[in-house]
Every structure is written in C-alpha cells, then in structure tokens.
C-alpha cells in the first residue's frame, strides 16, 4: 500500500467520530450487566461479553451497509 495513502487512512481513522461510541459501549455494557448480576466479578464478565457482542453487531452492520453502498 502507498505509504501516503496509509498515513491518510490512519489519520482519518484516528479522528473518526466512531471513537465517541466507545465510552457509550463501556457504560451501557457495565450498567446492563450490573442490572443482571449482583457480584462484581460476574458483572465484569457479563459486561465484557455484552460489549463484544455490541461491537460485533456494529461491525456486521458496517460491512452490510458498506456492501450495499456499492
């Protein structure tokens, strides 16, 4: 890959608004897990699994929309 193109892509990725979703994913996962469990270790485990599920779901939809956009 062209180094300039790579650098541009990295810069755009670094400044992308998608990163603003990260604190939301963390907060939503922790709060949701805390409403389903009482012990902290179970909350953390559940939150990690739920957060990964959210990220996977978002990634799948990203691929689908990217494919549909041609």
């Amino acid at each position: 890959m062209n180094p300039t193109l790579f650098a541009t892509l990295m810069e755009r990725l670094w400044n992308a608004d998608i990163w603003y979703s990260l604190p939301l994913i963390v907060a939503v996962s922790l709060v949701y897990a805390a409403t389903r469990n009482e012990e902290m270790d179970r909350i953390i485990i559940h939150a990690v699994r739920f957060g990964l599920w959210i990220i996977t779901f978002m990634a799948l939809f990203f691929v689908l929309l990217w494919w549909l956009s041609g």
Binding site: V31, Y32, A34, T35, R36, E38, E39
Partner: protein, 195 residues
Amino acid sequence: MTDDSAGREQATKVLLKDPVMAAFLAWLIPGLGHLYQGRIAKGILFFICIMGTYVYGAYLGGSSQLGYARAVYFSFRNDEWRLPYLCQIGVGLPSMPALVQAMRMNDNKKVLFGGFMAPPRRVDTVETDPNFDQPTLDKLQLTLNRFFELATVYTMIAGLLNVLAIYDALSGPVIMPPTKKEKQPKQSDQKSAKS
C-alpha cells in the same frame, strides 16, 4: 443446587430496604439508591458510568462562549418541542436546572449561570428581552456542529441507563436463566456419581 435456584437465592439475599425510597434516590442521583440499600459497589458503578456519560455529554454540548450543557434544555413551546429532554430527565437532579432556566425564560427573566442548560432563544426575540444575548438553536448547531447531536445522544443514553438502575434499586437484579454449558453436568461429576 441448580444455577437457577442459586440465582434466585442470591436475589432474595439482596436487601432492598424501602424499594420506593431507593428508586426515588436512584432517580435523583444515579447510584444513590443503591448506596442507601448498602449495595456500595453497584452504587459506585452506576454513579461513575451514568454520571460520567451525562457529564461528558454536557461538556460536549457547550462552550465558554455559548454556555455549557446547552444540549440539555427543556422546551415545549408550540413550534419547538425538545423531546430528548424526556430521556435526559431520567437523571433527575442534574437535569433540574433545565426546568428552572426554562421557567425563567418563559417569565422574561434573565437565565442564570451564563445560559447553563437554558433553552435557545427564539429567532423573533426582541432586543429589549433580557435573554436577547442567548444563542438561537441555529447558532448552537452551527457553532457546536456535530457535538450538539453527540451531546444530546450522550445525555439521553445516560437518562435511559438510569431507568435501568432505578428498576434495579426497586426490584433487585434480574435473574439470568442458566446457559446451556451451566445446565450440562461435567463428565467428572457424572463418573463420581456412578461410582
């Protein structure tokens, strides 16, 4: 003891004290209801996650020039319904200043604290109005750009998450059904049972 009954036993062990008071305190300040019930770790967790989301959203949706937390405001004027406030009010006490500011603006009194949580002024506001120096909604969205929407989303999500926390304070944790892996006994357990 199965995992389902273990979960039920865990739930019954959670002392809810006065659940209605706990739910009210949880609405007022996220996590406070759980602290009242003695569920310290969860109370701190809810406070950090929900208030952190809310405060960050309030920070994104303002500036020193426009005033802070401009994305959190109350308005139900005929042509300007601020529906996101219905979610933001899920975080009770921190969202109350928006009501005070809206009442002051409605009574033609100058809003407080540089416009903190104040609704934007109408476009047709006369120059003699004490709130003429306040920005319009167009000015807010032009200046804050996408951060106005981001701030709205953050504060709305914080409010909605607090609804879950309120329900947890009111009724305790929701019991999870055991997963398939937890249902299947281990092979070593089966062998020891046979012997």
